[in-house]
Chain length 663, copies 2
């Protein structure tokens, strides 16, 4: 039946689409105004699609917005197979154009990020309460897998500070004895399920779910995590032995203070602080002069080498300076049968895996997008998730823990001139060589230097500029940011994350329940109608009230919108009565921004119409969109309101029902 209605409407549109003179003409001085002019164009109803088409279209737009199967169309079977392989392993596609010039860029940047990542790996593993070599393992396998499957050219893969902290915090709340073998096994289990989560999101094309963590919440969460991480490093930097296991700032400062007399070790402090100052200075230099980025990129490695050498010759470890002591040599052992696929830790592994997998993904996608926009290539979000997922699943089977894209190393990678993911392969090979040959050299590396490297690395995560910008642009975003920030530093990483997610959702819910409405006025000398608050020159039309609804009308806001419109009407009427202006006979609802309406919205309009009728006010609609006009027809609301009360523009409606003389 709705088919019939819309066919009729189409016929009307065609019949009335004439090209004769329009009442919308203006500026011609005092020409006589004819209010009953036929308009050039009536409100159009788009051709009705068959039901299946309609559902298909809307599913496609939701889940396959990027048209992934587009290129498979009209191809032979073998070609389809090649395309499918290329789509799973993008290296097969871009690898064919690979050349020596590109390799030069990738080689240099690969070496640079390797020198940066090795000391970071040792340090970050400790954040997750894992032995340092697991960091190196993770920087060997994961980047290799990513290089074959990822679509970003600039991202540098490996363990990162925030995810390591989150993982350590979540895992240690499940197994408090972090030295036990079960702890390591749980870490692999969580890594496996983090990978499964990421893969599932990619395969089910639910990548848009990570968009629900707002930028503002991430800024706050990251800053909080950075401060928490830095505070944790006070243990290594000050050589404190009895350090709290809690991560909140109060416990940590209390722990630092209570150890002030007997726990601090001045040799450790000397080493730690001097290298921290060195690292911060190089960071500052690199920030001032972008060309000197390599200074800060190699400074961690220099710090490690110099401090290790220094400790070795002075034997400072005998005087209380804590050192790395032992690093397992050799390539990653298999961990396939370490993962808990049953038993009491399975549930914990799944939970921790889902949370850390989502956070890792959020970070990776944010980084990937940033650099893709800078170089103007497109990043396939769902493909990225499949790549990340596979990388972590493979990683969990080969003694790696959760890896993702590192912001600082990706930036260095970018500045060092990387061309493709081959720079990750170069880095991976350097890490492999380190694992095979160089690990004994790290024996005398002081933990204080690793602490300095972590602090210097996370300093950038406290993005004060971004926070100031949030404050300036959107106060609500700032609140979300601060909520996450204080949640992390005063309670724990998990609480901070929870606050971030909760605030993000609260914002969405607010947005859909309380849409904006605006009263419009006519800009003098034009037929343009605009918000009278934004354009104080815009004048209201006597006897008319023009209201724009700035949102789709759904069950969550239909009642509010109806009541808000009535409130505008009552307020305006009492104001006009006070100023002795004529009362309101016509209420024009400008529907341009209303992209969709559901059955609750239709009901709200029916109720609005009835209420207005009781008040002897005429309801007029202007410019309903394609979906809306179709639904108005389907629900026969057009018959109730009257087809002649639905106009293409506000100007048309005013010309027809407004006072004479207003064009």
């Amino acid at each position: 039946m709705s088919q019939r209605v819309s066919d009729d409407a189409m016929a009307e549109v065609i019949a009335e689409t004439r090209s004769d003179s329009s009442s919308r003409r203006h500026g011609g001085g005092d020409d006589a105004v004819v209010t009953d002019l036929p308009y050039m164009h009536r409100v159009g109803t788009p051709p009705k699609q068959p039901l299946f088409q309609e559902i298909k279209h809307s599913l496609m737009e939701t889940f396959f917005a990027d048209k992934p199967f587009h290129k498979f169309k009209d191809q032979s079977g073998s070609r389809k197979f090649v395309l499918a392989l290329q789509s799973l392993f993008p290296i097969l596609e871009w690898g064919r154009d690979y050349n020596l010039k590109k390799f030069r860029g990738d080689f240099v940047s690969g070496l640079t990020i390797a020198s940066l990542c090795i000391p970071q790996d040792l340090a970050y593993a400790k954040l997750a309460y894992l032995d340092p070599w697991y960091g190196l393992y993770s920087s060997f396998v994961a980047p290799l897998v990513y290089a074959f499957m990822g679509t970003s050219r600039d991202i540098a893969i490996g363990p990162v500070a925030v995810v390591s902290l989150l993982l350590g915090s979540l895992l240690s709340s499940e197994i408090s004895d972090t030295k036990s073998h079960d702890y390591v096994r749980l870490a692999f289990t969580a890594t496996f399920f983090a990978g499964v989560t990421q893969l599932a999101l990619g395969v089910c094309r639910l990548g848009f779910l990570i968009d629900f963590l707002s930028h503002a919440a991430i800024v706050g969460f990251m800053a909080g995590a950075a401060i928490t991480i830095a505070m944790q490093q006070l243990k290594g930097l000050l050589g404190i032995k009895n350090f709290t296991t809690k991560t909140d700032i109060v416990s940590v400062l209390h722990s630092v203070w209570s150890n002030v007399h007997h726990g601090w070790n001045w040799e450790t402090i000397l080493i730690g602080l001097s290298f921290l100052i060195f690292l911060l200075i190089t960071k500052y230099i690199a920030k001032r002069n972008k060309k000197l980025f390599w200074v800060s990129a190699i400074s961690p490695m220099i710090s490690v080498v110099v401090s290790t050498f220094f400790v070795y010759i002075t034997r400072a470890d005998k005087r209380g300076v804590s050192i790395v002591k032992h690093i397992k040599s050799g390539v990653n052992p298999s961990s396939a049968n370490e993962i808990f696929f049953s038993g009491k830790y399975l549930g914990a592994g799944v939970r921790v895996g889902i949370v850390s997998g989502m956070v890792a993904l959020t970070e990776a996608v944010a980084i990937g997008r940033t650099f893709a926009a800078m170089k103007d290539y497109s990043l396939d979000g769902n493909k990225e998730m499949v790549a990340m997922g596979t990388m972590n699943i493979v990683g969990s089977l080969t003694s790696c823990y959760v890896t993702t894209g590192s912001f600082s190393r990706s930036a260095v990678n970018f500045m060092a001139g990387c061309q493709t993911a081959v720079s990750n392969i170069v880095m991976s090979i350097v890490v492999l060589l380190t694992l095979l040959v160089l690990t004994p050299l790290f024996k005398y590396t002081p933990n204080a230097v690793l602490a300095s490297i972590i602090i210097a690395a996370v300093v950038n995560l406290v993005n004060i500029e971004a926070m100031v910008l949030l404050w300036k642009i959107d106060k609500f975003d700032f609140v979300a940011c601060m909520g996450a920030f204080f949640g992390v530093i005063f309670k724990s990483v998990e609480i901070g994350l929870l606050i971030a997610v909760a605030i993000s959702f609260a914002k969405i819910l607010l947005q859909v329940t309380r849409p904006r409405t605006a009263v419009l006025g006519k800009l003098p000398g034009t037929t343009v109608y605009r918000n009278i608050q934004q354009y104080p020159k815009a004048a209201q039309i006597p006897g008319m009230l023009i209201i724009r609804i700035d949102s789709a009308i759904y069950f969550s806001n239909s009642n509010y919108i109806k009541e808000r419109i009535l409130r505008w009407l009552i307020e305006e009427e009492s104001q006009r009565t006070e100023s002795e202006l004529p009362g309101i006979q016509n209420l024009i609802v400008e529907m341009s921004p209303v992209t969709d309406i559901d059955t609750s919205g239709i009901h709200a309009f029916e109720e609005l119409y009835k209420t207005l009728q009781k008040r002897e006010v005429q309801l007029i609609l202007a410019n309903p969109g394609p979906v809306v006009i179709e639904k108005l027809h389907a629900s026969k609301l057009t018959d109730l309101i009257g087809e002649d009360k639905i106009f293409l523009t506000v100007a048309d409606a005013v010309a027809t029902f407004g006072p004479k003389g207003v064009k």
Copy 2:
């Protein structure tokens, strides 16, 4: 600093707001087109509000949209006290205008709904596995409380079928022995917390939360619940002794079938079916002729009287016809010390209370709104919740179970000519008299008649018309409706409710992640730009692509919007290259529907700008709203894009950057 930027912008607006001739003039044939004309109006920035004002305004709009404190302004202390009392007890306000004429209406309608509610009360209490007199108790206290505090004039208060079913289902899953005293105590506990939930929602002004249950989901849930309730009545109607305790349709039909040979009682079936037919016929008569509504209103009472008399004289109860047997006489006893305020059932009571309180509220508010719209008076949602909450709290202390507005009885109340909530008081007094004097008469009432009354009452809840309308108007709404419907009938009431809520939320999330965008074209002979899919006559401008974003831009959709715009660009470019049309140099983004933008949205625009720059396409914005332009200024995005690329209308932008000759 954003203060400075916006002040500058204001100065500009004022300086450039001239009333000289505009390039928007058209229709004058082949006048020379001057593309660099100064426009009449620039995009305006509204006067900046101080931060506190801004926050206050947005909080007010969210929580105090109805301005509840408006009338307290500038009043003396004693007057404020009177107003506060009136606001808590609206009867003090409308009671002063009460007169005999109104009372006549209320008296007749009160008697009518009393005759309808007494048999229903006996029947509905059994749905909640409570003794029948609790239904009568609930119809005595609750309507009295509501009459003093409620703002609806038409709603009829008391136990209702769906809430009774839900309560019975939830309570019996906590305490399976429904005959135990603990079961009754838990029912009072749940009622108390249902009231607390409702009161809290009202006081915290969180009434908008109930809007999150969509109309479509409610239609499906109600229909499913009605069928489940009707199926449950087969026990009483067929006189089956061993009936399943499950509510899903498969278990019930299996139970009915397995009892076919020895469990059915023909006398019971005869009584039940004949009165069911009688009730359905009277319903049909009332539906055909609205004036005969009283026929169906009194038919349940007639059925009870006739069937009771019949059983009494034939002593059919001796032949297996199940009868009510005993109804406690006298007024409600206190149940204040029956409520579990501690112990193992407290948690269950709170949970059940919250769920049943929310569902009861949803029903009451829907009814209240419907009738308020029909008579054009305003219903204060938050005040309604306070009234409902108080009513259920008081009820839980006086042996009532959860009550709310009954749709069928409210409709009868309305049609019988009720004027105010006094009709509830009349009904309440009749119920009181019944409790005091008439209960012994119900001893021989056959349970089969109560079953018939329930079936006849819930038939209307299966609203097939509404379902057909959902299908026609919005397919997604239809899916939500069916999901809730099948969830209730094939699993349980709770599962159906859960599905309804989940689908409603999924819809909101979809709405905020995948907003619509449209390509615009110029309607021939006008300066109006419209969706080319809706208006096939609308023509695209050579060298330009005009895209309208149909949603506020937030973190949840900013990335999608950016990528969608780029996809439009790529698709359009390849199409135009095929048709040998000029390439696209200008991308106009029509921002009229974009009511707000957050920091993620600003980032997305920055990235869009950079990508477009790489492609040598110019980004132009048309008609950003007040909030958006302020944020564009605050983030300095206007400097990046260029103030001269921001226009009041698409037509202005086309006139400036479009090909010569297009006006």
